[in-house]
Amino acid sequence: MWHALRENYWAVILAVVLHIVLVAVLIVSLVGTPPPLPDGGVKVIKAVSVDEGQVKAEMKKLRSAEQRKQQQEAERQQRLQAEASKAEQARKREEQRLAELRRKRTEEQKQLKIQQQERAAQAKAEQAQQAKLKQQQAAEQKRLAEIQKKNQQEKERLAKLQAQQQELERKHKAELKRAQEAEAKRKAAELKRKQEAEAKRKLEAKKRIEAARRAREEAEAKAALQKQMDAEAAQMQAQRQRQLATLKQQYMSAIASRVENNWLRDPGIPKGTTCQVDVQQAPGGFVISAQASNCTGGGVAMERSVETAVMKSSPLPRAPDPDVFDREIRFTFTVE
C-alpha cells in the first residue's frame, strides 16, 4: 500500500487537496446564519405616565427613525443581492475548475496505471534473474557443505576409530587388572572361607557338645521338676481329699444336728424303731421331697415325725464346698 502511495504521490497530494477543499466548502455551507435566539418569554412593559407633547415629539422621533431604518434595510437588501450573484458566479467558476481537475486526475491515473504495468514487468524480470542467481549460489553452497560434511565425517570416523582403539586398549588393561584382582580376591576368599569353615566346624562341634550337655541337664532338671510337681500335685490331691473328707463330715454333722433338733417324735414309739427317709434337696439346701420308708414300727406317727423333721429343717445347712454337696440324702432315724 505504502509502496503504491509512494509511487503515485502526486495523485495522493491532489486527492488530499481536493478533499480539504470539499470539507471547507461543506463547513462554510454548514456554518451559515445561526437561528435567532428566543426573546426569553413575555416581555414586561413598564407603564410611565407622560404628557402628550412629549409623546408626540417622541412619536415623530420614532417615525423618522423608522423611515431611516427602512431605507437602510433596502440598501442592505440590495447589497446582499449583489453579493449573492457574485457568489453564484464564483460557484460556477469553481465548478468548472473542479471538472477540469477531475478530468486531469483521470488522465493522470491512466498514465500512472501504464507506468505501473511497465514497472511490474520490469520487476518480474529482475526477480527471475535474482532467483536464478540465488539458485546457483545455493547449489554451490550445498556442494561446499557436502564436501565439508564428508571431511567432518571422515574426521569423526578417524576419531571414533582412535577412540575404539583406546577403549579396547583400556578394556584390555582393565580386564587384565580385574582378572588379577579377582584371582587375588578369590584366593583370599578361599582362604577366608576355609578358615571360617574350620572355625565354624570347630564352633559347631563345640555347640553340639554344649547342646547335648544342656539338653541332658535340662532333661534332668525337667524330670526333677516333674517329679516335684507330681509329688506336690499328689500331696495337694491328698490334702484336698482330706479337706473334703473333713468338710463332708462337718456338712453331714451340721445336717444331722439340724434335723435332730427338729425331730419331735411321739413318746409312744418304741425304742429301736427305725425309719429311712430319702430326701432330695436343691443346691441351696431347700428340701424338695422327703419320703419315709422301711419303718420298723411307730406307724403313721413315726413316718410323719421323720418326714416333718426333714421338711422343718429346710433349707438344710449349705454345703461348705460344692464337691461335698449331694442332691440326695438318705437319713436313717433310730429311736434310742
Partner: protein, 450 residues
Amino acid sequence: MLNRMIRWIPALLCGGLLWSASAYAVLEIQITQGIEGGVPIAIVPFKWTGSGAPPGQDVSAIVSADLARTGRFKLLASKNFLERPHSGAEVNFENWRSLGVDDLVVGQVRPAAGGAYNVQFQLFDIYKAPTGQDIGKPDYQIKQLAGYSVPSRANELRRTAHYISDIIYKQLTGQRGAFSTRIAYITVTHGRKGTLYSLQVADADGYNPHEVLNSPAPIMSPSWSPDGSKLAYVSFEGGRPAIYIQDLATGARQKVSARKGINGAPAWSPDGKQLALTLSYVDQGNPEIFVLNLATHALRRITYNSAIDTEPTWSPDGKSLVFTSDRSGGPQLYQVDASGGRPKRLTFDGSYNARAAFSPDGKLLAMVHGEGKVFKIAVLDLKTGLFRVLTDGREDESPTFAPNGSMILYATVYKQRGVLAAVSVDGRVRQRLQLRDGEVREPAWGPFTD
C-alpha cells in the same frame, strides 16, 4: 461309719475320678437324737357364719381338748396366732411355719335347716411338700390332709366335735381315735336321805353323762359288753351282792349271778358270750375265778387256791385270763389259760399289784401298783417285762384302757373327792375329767361301737 471309711479309701488312693463319682453318691446320715413330745398343732376357733347367737357348744374348743388330752399333741395357744383363717384359701402357711406348728385345723359352723348345723373343717400338714401330681394346685390343696362338712343336729354338736377329733387323730397318728366312745362309772353322793349310788354313762371326755341306774345300795364294777350295748355290774340291792346285765338302750336288766357269798368283778369275754367273775360259794367262802357261759348259764371254775383270787380280766384274744391273787403273800397278777390250768405270776415289782387291765393290742397290762400306803397306776410291757409307773396320785385305782390303747382312764382322789383322770400310755399327760358332782369311782372305758 466303717462303711463310710471303706468308701473313702479308694477315693483317697485314686484321686479325682473316683472322688467325683463318690461325690454323686447319696449322703447317708444317721439321726438318733430328737425330742419326745407332742406334735405341735394349731386349731383356729371355728367361725360361726349364722346371724343369730352362736351354738352353745364350741366345736373347735372340744376338738382342742380332745387332742390335748391324748398327750400326743401340743396345742398352740390361740393368743399366739398371727392370723385366724376359717378356710384353706385364707391360710398363709408361712405364718404357721414361723410359729413352729406342724399341723393346722381351720373350720366354720354354718346354720342349716331346722336349727341344725353344718360343721366344716380342714386339716393341713404345714410341711407337706408338693409331688408331681400337685403341679398348679394352690398350697392349701396340696397340704390338706382332710376336709369335711359334717351335718349335725343342735344337740349333737359335741358328738360331731368328737367325730372331727377322731378324723384328725387318725390322720396324724395313723390310729383310730377314741373320742366318740363312752365311759361308764359309779358316782356316790351323800345327801340328806343318805348315800346314793349311781351308775352313769358319759362321753369319753366326761361330758354328757346319763344315769343308767341309781340305788341307795352300793353299785360296783361296771363292765362293758364288747359291742357296747350292755353293762354288767354288781349291785347290792336287797342287801346281797348280785351280778346284773343291763341293756343300755332299753334299760332291761338281767340278774346273772346271785350265789351265796361274793358275786363280784364281772368281765366280758371278747366274744361277748361269757362272763368271768369272782365267786365264793365254794371252799368255805374263798373267792375263786369262774367263767359263766351267758347262753347256758354253765359255770366253769378257773382257779383252785386257798388264797384270794379275784378281779379277772380277759386277754384281747380271749385265750387267757389275768387275775389278782395273794397266794404269794401279797396281791400280785397271775395269768391263766381261759380253760383253766396252772396260773403264771406276771408281776414282781413291789408288794402290791392288782386290778389288771389289758391294752387292746394285748401287749400292755395296766394295774394298781401299791407302794406302802400309796397306790398308783403302772404299766407292764408283757413282751419286754418293762414296768413303768404312770401316775403319782395317792389313791389311784381301776385303770381302764381306751379302746385305741392310747390312754388309760382311772379313778383318783382330788381334794378329798373321788374323780376320774386320764393318763397317756407313756405317762406324760395326765388330765382330770370334768364331772359335775359327787364322788366318782370305778371307770370303765367302753368299746368302739361301730
